[in-house]
């Protein structure tokens, strides 16, 4: 029998016919080249085949991370829109309050500010620049 990597490969897969396998095994006894090839291949492949099934369920942190992060991406755009709408509304109410000193308007304003803060707490998409600018404006308005 001549040397054949193809047969070695089939042997590794357990795909050799019994007769061919017998031949290969006797060839391996007299051919150090093939014996070495098989040895290295089995060593490498054996490592991969023996990696244990660690039998662990995915950690809770992964779930939080995956569903949390994806939800955030989803909400990013919508939250930004909502935030801007709310901010516009506040500016209008703010001006109304400014001119009339109406107590109800001041309550609405405070409530909106709290909501806006919640929204910003949930999204990282809005740059801190705008966040700072907006809050400064709101704080100034409320102080006034």
């Amino acid at each position: 029998m001549t040397c054949s990597n193809k047969n070695l490969n089939k042997y590794i897969d357990g795909d050799l016919e019994p007769a061919a396998e017998k031949k290969l095994l006797s060839h391996l006894k007299v051919c150090p080249t093939c014996a070495n090839t098989l040895k290295s291949m089995e060593k490498m492949i054996g490592v991969l085949r023996n990696i244990p099934d660690y039998d662990r369920s995915p950690p809770q942190s992964l779930r939080r991370r995956v569903l949390g992060e994806t939800a955030k991406t989803r909400d990013g755009a919508a939250l930004l829109k909502l935030g801007l709408t709310l901010a516009t509304f506040m500016i209008i109410v703010g001006f109304f309050f400014l001119f009339t000193g109406d107590k109800k308007a001041s309550e609405i304003l405070e409530y909106s500010a709290a909501k806006l803060q919640d929204i910003y707490g949930e999204t990282e998409e809005i740059s801190s620049y705008y966040e700072d600018e907006l809050f400064t404006a709101i704080v100034m308005m409320i102080d006034y």
């Binding site: 290295s40 490498m44 085949r49 099934d53 660690y54 662990r56 995915p58 995956v66």
Partner: protein
């Protein structure tokens, strides 16, 4: 997407199936619309498969978590690209193995033997761990395509037919490529030892 029996492959560490109120089709549609419940279903159903692959491939808990998270984030982002030409599980598996292997290649420092360590008896620990790290290192020297095939065949224990389905390759092509990849790996090993 096929309503027929899903293509099976021996990802042996499959999840226990959960009861679904909707068909997989409907769930995917809803998940494309970012329905949280639907996304949760998909996560519950497939996270054991993704996690197991990532954990065994990286051999490292925190890296496996990063890689799995990357898979799911990519999955939800690309869900609309699923055309149903293959079973969803096959499509997801393809995405997972690509993402996880890319992840492994980018991470220079990880030790694949780390987790392996705890699963070995005393005795031959060092040798086995070194062998595991060596294999991981050599795999990265193979073309990405070859590494993927070797992982599916040897680590995942898939049949050639299953690999052909996942890779969109002919059975004969898969066989030849794996044969060549094994020889390349053996050559790299002999250069190293």
């Amino acid at each position: 997407m096929s309503e027929s029996a899903p293509e099976t492959f021996s990802s042996p560490r499959g999840s226990k199936r959960i009861e679904l109120k909707f068909s997989e089709n409907q769930i995917i549609e809803r998940a494309i619309d970012r329905d949280e419940e639907a996304m949760g279903y998909i996560y519950e159903e497939y996270s054991p498969l993704v996690w197991s692959l990532a954990l065994r491939y990286t051999g490292n808990q925190s890296l496996a978590e990063d890689a799995s998270a990357a898979v799911f984030i990519r999955l939800f982002k690309n869900l609309h690209k699923f055309r149903g030409e293959s079973a969803f599980k096959t499509w997801l598996y393809r995405l997972s193995i690509n993402t996880i292997i890319n992840y492994g290649r980018r991470e220079k420092k990880f030790r694949a033997g780390e987790l392996f360590e705890n699963h070995l008896g005393e005795g031959d620990k060092t040798e086995e761990i070194e062998a595991r790290d060596l294999v991981q290192r050599l795999l990265k020297k193979l073309p990405r395509r070859d590494e993927k095939l070797i992982i599916m065949r040897e680590m995942e224990g898939m049949t050639y037919q299953e690999i052909a389905n996942i890779s969109n390759l002919k059975l004969s092509t898969v066989k030849t490529r794996i044969f060549r990849a094994r020889l390349k790996l053996r050559k790299l090993y002999e250069e190293e030892v």
